[in-house]
């Protein structure tokens, strides 16, 4: 022990102490306290009780109301992920092919919205979506639809707005992967006589897939736990888990149930992310191994 202490350089320990202490004290303890809270009971008259059991979790699993909201959350998150792949992956390839100064300019266009408040970006969609909003005006003007489409308070609306909010993460992820690639491989494919479609399917796509997988994990996790966008577009009528947690905490005041819902969401997101990651690793090991 003494030998270990003598060998241990105190400098890095001291350097990491402030951040370590702060995060240990103000991140790990509150999370642990929330886990404990989720095991407690709640009554409207006496508040949080000091009994500890799994009743909150049993209630969530047995009540169809919660099941429906968890399913809706999973569905919107999955659809959002698919939409970001369909838009983000091709755009990342297009951005990589651009030359200066266009690449720089359109990178700002593609990634800049990350710096804009989620509330502002979602508000933009609320303005576009309204029954007299611009999207409906344009669609009716073009003669594509006769009556206004309903986007507000629908899953379609939430998915479109969420995809817009999370799109930069997919683009970043795919571009990070593309950057490591040798640009000559694509030229080689063409020079060996492959068509554009074959080159895309056999050369570009396999190279982009790891980036799409990584981006999908990030987007799915963020979409599943998103709060501001579903709250504004979906409102009270279309609850997802995050907005349900908010209601339990601020309106029903049932903190233990809210804590259980939040932690369950967290655990499910982690399980999906880790599972997806392992699936991806196994697949790519087979491809490149």
């Amino acid at each position: 022990m003494k030998a270990l202490l003598r060998r241990l350089d105190p400098v890095p320990v001291l350097l990491s102490l402030p951040a370590g202490l702060l995060l240990g004290l103000f991140l790990l303890i509150p999370l642990a306290a929330t886990a404990i809270l989720s095991l407690q009971a709640f009554s409207l008259y006496t508040g949080i009780q000091s009994v500890f059991n799994l009743d909150n979790y049993v209630e969530i699993f047995s009540d169809g109301y919660f099941g429906e909201i968890f399913l809706r959350t999973a569905r919107t998150a999955a659809l959002t992920t698919v939409l970001t792949i369909l838009i983000g992956a091709p755009e990342a390839v297009i951005l990589m092919r651009m030359k200066a100064p266009w690449r720089g300019i359109f990178l700002l266009v593609a990634l800049g919205p990350l710096l804009i408040s989620v509330v502002s970006r979602t508000l933009g969609w609320a303005l576009l979506f309204g029954s007299t909003g611009i999207i409906n005006d344009v669609l009716i003007g073009l003669g594509l639809i006769a009556a206004p489409l309903q986007f507000m308070y629908t899953e379609t609306g939430v998915v479109i707005a969420l995809a817009h909010v999370l799109l930069p993460f997919m683009i970043i992820s795919v571009m990070t992967t593309l950057q490591r690639l040798n640009p000559l491989v694509e030229s080689a494919s063409y020079s060996l006589g492959a068509s554009g479609f074959t080159t895309f399917r056999r050369v570009i796509l396999p190279q982009v897939l790891p980036g799409i997988f990584a981006g999908s994990i990030i987007v799915f996790a963020m979409a599943a736990s998103a709060f501001a966008t579903p709250q504004i577009i979906g409102g009270r009528r279309l609850k997802v888990v995050a907005t349900l947690v908010y209601d339990e905490y601020l309106f029903s005041l049932n903190w233990p149930l809210g804590a259980a819902l939040a932690l369950l969401l967290f655990v499910i997101v982690i399980i999906v992310a880790v599972g997806f990651n392992q699936l991806a690793e196994r697949r790519f090991r087979r491809l490149y191994g």
Binding site: L8, D9, V11, P12, L14, L15, S16, A19, G20, L22, G24, F26, L27, P30, L31, T34, P90, E91, I94, K99, R103, L107, L108, V109, L111, G112, P113, L115, I116, S117, V118, V119, S120, T122, L123, G124, L127, L128, A161, I172, M175, Q179, L181, L184, E186, A221, M222, S225, F227, A228, Q231, A242, Y246, Y249, W255, A262, L263, L265, F266, V269
Partner: protein, 271 residues
Amino acid sequence: MSSSNGFWSLAFHTLFVIFVMAPIVVVCFMAFTPEGYLSMPTNGVSLRWFEALLNNKEFVGSFRISLALGAASATVAALISIPAAMAIVRYDFPGRTAFLTLCMSPLMVPSIVLGVAFLRFFSQIGMSGTLVGLTISHVILIVPYVLRTIMNSLGSLDSALDHAAASLGSSAWRTFRRVTLPLTLPGILSGWVLAFITSFDEVTMTIFISGPGTTTLPVRLMLYIEDSIDPLVAAVSTVLIVMALVVMLILDRLFGLDRMLIGRSPSDPDR
């Protein structure tokens, strides 16, 4: 990717730009409406909603709180991240990986979970709704961003510079202050700015823990929107969008937005 974009690529790209820009542009346009309701400013342009915003004590107060909160938490986050980054990049010590994971872990916890965790914790220790509590929670949220930017910056430094300073008899502290710190400054500043805007925009976690006297701007906007959507919220959003633009330009000048978000700069021979 060496080949250039064809017609279909550019058509797709155009639709992409419209999709990305449409909601942002619409908000900015509608903020200039002369009408009392949300509409495109087709009958002239008016600043009446920005005037209304300036006269709205609640929004102005929240703007101040958000500015103070962003500046305070970004500064604290930078102050604890600089030594942490030095420890991780320059030293090998037991628990290094665990420490890095701990510092990055706020990225993995959904903001909604952080919100409920802080709400419970702060109300138990009597800090709910205080600016100190808000600052602590925001520091934790933004440490990963600052730390990563500073680590990038430190990592790209040539360590031979340090050795040169040391071999010329400079003490470790002096080497840090005169060599490492000045060279890392762009990274630290970029990290600070990124942290500031992240804190300034945060809503999901903050809506749980801000009190009546500490309502931040995005939270106030969110609560307002839950009640009604009028041109005033478009004006607030326009202010937020303009702030983001300013931050974007600063970051691009200071560090390169691409390098910051995608890691190293794209290997573009034209640059």
